[in-house]
């Protein structure tokens, strides 16, 4: 048992690991602003790629003036994480204490929520504008944006630069080039944030996913030792010929400032990469539209033998290095003995060190017209190999399919009672026949089901209710029992035939009513009890007389001779008991 519990706890403890890497937070740059100021509201996603921009339409007290999006890395304690920030510049609409409500974001069925903020808005303009930094370091290309510079006593020397590199400057149209952005730094970098566009006209581009951890390497430049990080990487495919420009890309970098306190805000600087020019040329002559790369084609079928009424699926795959997303796959044409249906195409790419590797899979449904051995011809795929500088041809193998059975006429011979055609691989020409059952009609909705369910439920409920509530609390209640005793006594007296039995019935009544045991009941006790209960002397005497006479009648002839006398006596006794019962404690 302990073993199972341990496994269970282990499973429970590992489930939240995935969501633990994801964060959705919000922050504001001030808690008090002027009515003429604006507030910078930042929403940060950690560990979510391509998050949807949160909707701020619910913020009624602010106007969204401008929004911007940025992504960044942060190196914290040797571990890097990817962040996406959405910045909203909010203008307050009125004075007073305004509220920014918490935001909700759904990711992988998990709901994340930010905290809410209370912003005090006063008249005028109270926000201080951060002073500009006039000092430039030797590698500075842009201004230092840190608003905290004026507070620093001894700012550290900044030695950070970016370089862009391309694998080849003379390329063919459609050829894969590797573009890398390297960060050279002698400072401690906390985060790298791309702030310019990364779209290059004239190229089809595939950016490598931003790695969660980047290892730095050492490199000595002009006698100085730099840490070098590859912060971005892309595969670029020139889409037209001529001279093409890869523009510079701008980043915002956060430097860890050792000169300030441990809790200081990181210092922010911006750096840009160098632009690069490359020359792209088309392939010549007939090969102008050929894909460029190192590729290979294969074809296989899911079966070698098939019934004529079934569909065969042929899977054609082209894989290798190249622009997989732009690749056109050769198609099968309808043959004399087979028919080709539209295919399903899936493309997968993976990012390797030396470029994008991927495959295009085409699943082609094929039906056959006649039985026999059908040859499906091979497919030919031409491409240009830039490494060997020649056109290459890759061929798939011929497929030989043994088709058996007889072609059924469309639905003509089908007996509807048998359930119709539901053969595996039947195509759109086939419909379903036979009887149908309503799968939307649920038993639980029927009145009959509800009645049966209710009755069974009530019956099962009534057993314990009767046993443990009615029987013990209502039927077993002392007041109820006493009430029932007198009724039972009167009933018994009505049905009485022997005068001698009166004695026993009365004793039974007194036993239940007073709690005395039968052995304890005698005339003296009864008299005392009746007296203490305030029962009149006459009634007491009459009761004792009847009791005594009844007892005696069991051993000697009774004074009551006739049935009518007996009935009168019983009626009197009943009235007497009713009076006594009202007063008896």
């Amino acid at each position: 048992m302990k073993k199972y519990l341990a496994i269970l706890f282990f499973l429970i403890s590992i489930i939240p690991l995935d969501s633990a890497d994801v964060e959705f937070t919000a922050s504001v740059d001030a808690e008090m602003i002027g009515l003429e100021d604006y507030l910078i509201y930042t929403i940060t996603f950690k560990g979510i790629q391509n998050p949807v921009q949160p909707d701020l339409s619910e913020i009624g007290d602010f106007n969204v003036i401008q929004t911007s999006r940025s992504s960044e890395f942060r190196f914290i304690n040797g571990v890097s994480s990817s962040y996406v920030n959405f910045l909203y510049y909010l203008a307050p609409l009125k004075e007073g204490a305004l509220v920014i409500p918490p935001l909700k974001y759904v990711h992988n069925n998990n709901i994340f929520k930010t905290q809410g903020f209370k912003i005090v808005v006063v008249k005028g303009n109270i926000k201080k504008i951060a002073p500009k930094n006039n000092r430039r370091s030797m590698f500075d290309l842009d201004e230092d944006l840190s608003p905290f510079k004026s507070f620093r006593s001894a700012p550290q020397e900044i030695d950070v630069k970016l370089r862009a590199k391309i694998s080849k400057k003379l390329a063919l149209v459609g050829e894969q080039l590797i573009y890398r952005i390297l960060l050279y730094s002698r400072n401690r970098i906390e985060s790298v944030n791309l702030i310019s566009g990364q779209s290059f006209p004239g190229f089809w581009q595939e950016w490598y996913p931003v790695s969660k951890s980047i290892d730095g390497a050492s490199e000595v430049i002009d006698g100085k030792n730099y840490q070098v990080y590859e912060i971005r990487k892309a595969a670029l495919f020139p889409s037209k010929e001529g001279e093409l420009l890869i523009p510079s890309v701008r980043f915002e970098l956060s430097l860890s400032d050792n000169s300030f306190s441990f809790f200081s805000t990181p210092r922010k600087i911006t750096r840009s990469t160098n632009s690069i020019r490359i020359s792209a040329e088309n392939l010549s002559g007939n090969s102008i539209n050929l894909p460029v790369g190192r590729l290979n084609i294969t074809a296989k079928s899911d079966k070698n033998s098939i019934d004529i009424n079934e569909l065969l699926t042929i899977t054609v795959e082209v894989k290798g290095f190249g622009n997989i997303k732009m690749l056109k796959i050769p198609e099968f044409k309808n043959g004399k003995f087979f028919k080709v249906f539209p295919s399903k195409i899936t493309r997968k790419t993976s990012f390797k060190d030396n470029g994008i590797f991927g495959n295009v899979i085409t699943e082609v449904p094929v039906s056959f017209k006649e039985p026999g051995v059908v040859i499906i011809p091979s497919l030919e795929f031409k491409y240009y190999d830039p490494l060997e500088s020649e056109i290459k041809i890759s061929k798939s193998r011929e497929l030989s399919i043994n088709v058996t059975g007889n072609r059924e006429e469309y639905l003509s011979d089908i007996n509807p009672v048998s359930g119709g055609i539901s053969k595996i691989g039947s195509d759109i020409d086939f419909i379903k026949k036979g009887t149908i059952k309503d799968q939307k009609r649920f038993i639980y909705k029927s009145v009959l089901f509800r009645i049966v369910l209710f009755l069974v439920f009530m019956v099962s409920l009534s057993f314990p209710i009767y046993e443990y509530f009615i029987k013990s609390h209502i039927l077993g209640n002392k007041k109820y029992i006493k009430k029932r005793v007198v009724q039972s006594l009167l009933k018994k007296l009505d049905n009485l035939k022997e005068y001698g039995d009166v004695f026993q019935i009365i004793e039974g009544y007194l036993e239940v009513k007073t709690g005395m045991r039968r052995s304890e009941i005698n005339n003296n006790r009864i008299e005392n009890l009746f007296y203490s209960s305030g029962i009149s002397k006459n009634d007491t005497e009459e009761f004792l007389r009847i009791r005594t006479e009844s007892e005696l009648s069991r051993f000697s002839p009774s004074t009551i001779k006739t049935f009518s006398q007996f009935k009168i006596e019983i009626t009197e006794l009943k009235n007497l008991i009713k009076r006594i019962d009202l007063k008896l404690k």
Binding site: V106, P365, I428, I431, K437, I443, F449, F457
Partner: protein, 251 residues
């Protein structure tokens, strides 16, 4: 013995409840139209049946009819409805593949994992009606043990019987509610409008992220007035106007 017969009779009556009369003859009429190549007429008959009835065979034939008259998107929606009622049917899967091959935008939702597939397979056997009958049977068992406990005194067998049947009753009741809820509140839909735009938020003031073609199957994440937050693949997500999608609803 008599009690068993009564219970069985009731169950049979309830099961027979799900077999409606009359629709099968209409279904045969629709099939006849289809066989004769009168796809529009066949579709009208099928749609008339579908107003009050839901059957995977019916949705399959509706899908075929839409395909024949050239409405591929609606064809896909109906195949998906058929697939919901009869998952793992090869002919539905095949037709969906043919449809997907004809659509421009071949964005696919991530495939279900092994656990989800197993759960779907399990649910295809344990239908809502089977669950309803099961709940009734468990309630009978619960009732029997309660009666025996009350009548015959505290026996461990009866106490455990009551306990187990009560736990099962609770479990299957909640599971039943969950299944009914899932049946009516489907999270999947298909893009029906051409040039639909996915935006970064609910509202036209938000940035356009993607254009998405009709026929793409999407999963609904959130809803906000006339806007729906959807995901179409691991990479494509955003907000779209409600009128641009059609839920794969069985209501």
């Amino acid at each position: 013995m008599k009690k068993v017969i009564v219970v069985l009779t009731l169950i049979i009556i309830m099961i027979s409840f799900i077999f409606p009369t009359g629709i099968n003859s209409r279904f045969a009429v629709g099939n006849e139209y289809y066989e004769n190549g009168e796809y529009q007429k066949a579709l009208e008959v099928y749609l008339e049946i579908a107003e009050n009835t839901g059957s995977w065979k019916l949705f399959f034939n509706i899908g075929n009819s839409y395909f024949k008259i050239g409405d591929i998107v609606r064809s896909k929606i109906n195949y998906l409805k058929a697939e919901r009622l009869n998952p793992f049917d090869k002919s539905i899967e095949q037709n969906l593949r043919i449809i997907d091959g004809l659509l421009d935008n071949r964005v696919n939702l991530p495939e279900s994992d092994f656990l989800t597939k197993t759960l779907i397979r399990f649910e295809s056997f344990l239908t809502i009606n089977v669950l309803s009958v099961l709940i009734l049977i468990i309630l009978f068992i619960f009732s029997f043990f309660t009666f025996k406990l009350v009548r015959s005194g505290r026996s461990k067998i009866y106490i455990y019987g009551i306990l187990i049947s009560f736990i099962l009753l609770l479990f299957f009741s909640f599971y039943h509610i969950h299944r009914v809820n899932n049946f009516y509140n489907n999270k999947y839909a298909v893009i029906v409008a051409p040039n639909s735009q996915l935006r970064s938020g609910p509202g036209e003031e938000n940035t356009i992220l993607f254009e998405i073609n009709p026929g793409v199957t999407i999963r609904i994440i959130d809803e906000h007035r006339d806007w729906v937050q959807i995901t179409a693949s691991t990479e494509i997500a955003g907000w779209i106007e409600r009128e641009n999608i059609e839920k794969i609803s069985l209501q």
